[in-house]
Amino acid sequence: MTNENKDQFRPADHENDHFLLTTVVGSYPKPKWLNRAKDRFEDEDSDFDEDNWQEAKDDAARLITAEHERAGLDVVVDGEMRRNEMVEFFADRIEGYEFNGPVKVWGHNYFDKPSVVSEVEYDDSWLVDEYEFTADATDRPVKVPITGPYTLANWSFNEAYEDDDELTLELADLVNEEIEKLVDAGARYIQIDEPALATTPDDHAIVGEALEHIVADIPEEVRIGLHVCYGDYSRIYPEILEFPVDEFDLELANGDYEQLDVFKDPEFSKDLALGVTDAHVAEVESVEQIEENILKGLEVVPPEQLVVSPDCGVKLLPRDVAYGKMANMVQAARNVEEDLDAGDIDVERGAPTPADD
């Protein structure tokens, strides 16, 4: 069995017959000096100007891309060094949004929840510069994470549209426009992040409809992933199998794979990017532990459909811990590939039902 879409990211010098693509969800801890540079840029009394700030972000993007390479990841990201927050960053670039100040998420954790005050419109490209810079900085394939339209709508105040579904679909068209530009620039791996789906799982239908808008006229070979985290997956599975995506990137290590069985029946027909290290525990899991986690994925999909990734963005971890997790994750994936090649792995794939074809 082959998987062309996934295999396009197989490194030419990959040593094992089996290939468990290793990648990250996106965000990575920012270097401390980048935060200091930002403080200086925002300080009106400082002479640290726009050019200096741009240079700092470029340096950070190069640094983290290289760090991902060093960890051995097959597909890298720049760690989202240029992005502040997953909704704010995009709202800032979309016409129709305005900011009115921070709101509480929990305790003293706030975010600048934007308001949609008029029709949303595509202005300048959001991510093409970011992608081109990262693609230039590495020989490895680069993944581009984009906050999905459902989350962009749901985590905003909607002042302008009749309901959030309408806003979601409008935003989906803008995301589609952006992906077209990214594809023109050479991007082949796009990940749509929809964490809001976990808060309102009954809305999977509108997320599916939005994805249809997102992938309209995008070439087949472009890999589209969907990242969902921290929710009750039984409320969205198997419905999400209908979504027009190649891969689901799921957080599961955090819950110790308690929800794994959800995905065994009916058969998981897409690629599974399995979270194999916990993004919210500041302790590096051992290679052996991560190998065990990877085997969990093989209970759901065959190796050809398995991708290995952390649970979620790792930006809240100390940077050395984040790196340790990436490096151990890659080592674990390579070990499992070797074992698979040697025929030493015997995992029973659970409760399959006959496929339609």
């Binding site: 009115n100 100040g101 921070p102 709101v103 305790g107 003293h108 706030y110 308001s115 808060t199």
Partner: protein, 334 residues
């Protein structure tokens, strides 16, 4: 003649300076949240913020003044989060919002703490006690938000929560009104048997005060049976979230009647779009029109939900609109 009273269900956003100062003083993690025995500096920051939000309400001309519940890091679960018999554990989702609170697990016999009473005493110092409105979670919502490891049985646990809240209320200084917020009556409606007990629990808390008691469910309309049982409780007003649902709320009012007073949630506590006072006044008339003969003694005009979801400046605008809408309604009615 109907009296129109502008008010809010409390649980305000912190002023932005207080968000910053308190983040710095307390930290961002689970164990940094309010425990009820905070030190001098933190207390001082909250006092200053309290004074500010009371000032906002007075300035806006609201008819009822709340303390603001700025210390309620765990939102409606706060009264339990500061109780001795409760352990706060993991961070859990607050209804269907992108908000989280610490799961309060009751591990011992609940005793009232006086925490909310102390906040109200402090507010009384600032307002002179005029027009003060207390805010508490309704017993059913608090029961729904909490986990029981002590009482072992839903009926006993709900009754214990009701006694606990009644004990808190008994320690209150004199207040004009008590709002009991009951979103769980909508969001996780009590099944047969529990619906009647929820009403009895509310009755228990309401009986602990001489103040006017308003029970405010939100995020939709009550199921018919839940509403019918609620009307059996000795309360002065039921609240209706007309932002989330108009038809079912009107249906309940038409079909089952109402308390002598009502609270109308007409301004959206979760959207930055600021309503026109005239539009709110018109909606009051629309609701009254739907009910034909009914003539309420008091109509409370309020946001449907708490307002901590809003950026601070928008929250201030919402309050101004409510105050103005109540004035307009008075004029129209006269």
């Amino acid at each position: 003649m109907t009296e129109y009273v502008s008010t809010t269900p409390g649980l305000y956003p912190l002023p932005d300076w207080a968000k910053d100062d308190l983040s710095d003083l307390k930290g961002h993690q689970k164990h940094d949240l309010i425990s009820g025995d905070e030190g001098e500096e933190i207390t001082a920051a909250y006092e200053e913020a309290r004074e500010e939000v009371i000032g906002v309400q007075t300035e806006a001309g609201l008819d009822r003044i709340v303390e603001g519940q700025l210390r309620w890091d765990d939102m409606l679960a706060h009264p339990l989060a500061v109780a001795d018999a409760v352990e706060t554990r993991g961070i859990v989702r607050y209804y269907d919002n992108n908000n989280f609170y610490r799961e309060p697990v009751v591990t011992d016999d609940l005793e009232p703490t006086g925490d909310v009473a102390a906040e109200l005493e402090a507010a009384t110092q600032l307002t002179g006690g005029e027009d003060l409105q207390a805010v508490l979670p309704g017993p059913y919502s608090l029961f729904d938000l909490a986990t029981d490891e002590q009482y072992g049985d839903d009926a006993d646990f709900l009754a214990a929560i009701a006694d606990f809240l009644a004990g808190e209320v008994e320690a209150f200084p004199a207040v004009e009104t008590l709002f009991l917020l009951e979103p769980s009556l909508v969001e996780s409606a009590p099944a047969d048997g529990l619906d009647e007990r929820a009403s009895e629990a509310i009755d228990r808390v309401a009986s602990a005060t001489d103040a006017e008691v308003v029970v405010q469910p939100y995020w939709g309309a009550l199921e018919e049976k839940v509403y019918a049982h609620l009307l059996d409780a000795d309360i002065d007003a039921v609240g209706f979230d007309f932002v989330a649902n108009q038809d079912d709320n009107v249906y309940n009012l038409q079909e089952y009647g109402a308390t002598d007073d009502v609270a109308l949630g007409l301004a959206d506590g979760q959207n930055t779009l600021v309503e026109d006072p005239e539009a709110i006044r018109d909606r009051v008339e629309w609701v009254e029109g739907q009910l034909g003969v009914t003539d309420f003694e008091t109509v409370y005009l309020t946001t449907n939900t708490e307002t901590f979801y809003l950026p601070y400046a928008k929250y201030v605008e919402k309050l101004e609109v409510l105050a103005e809408a109540a004035d307009l309604a008075e004029v129209t009615a006269a």
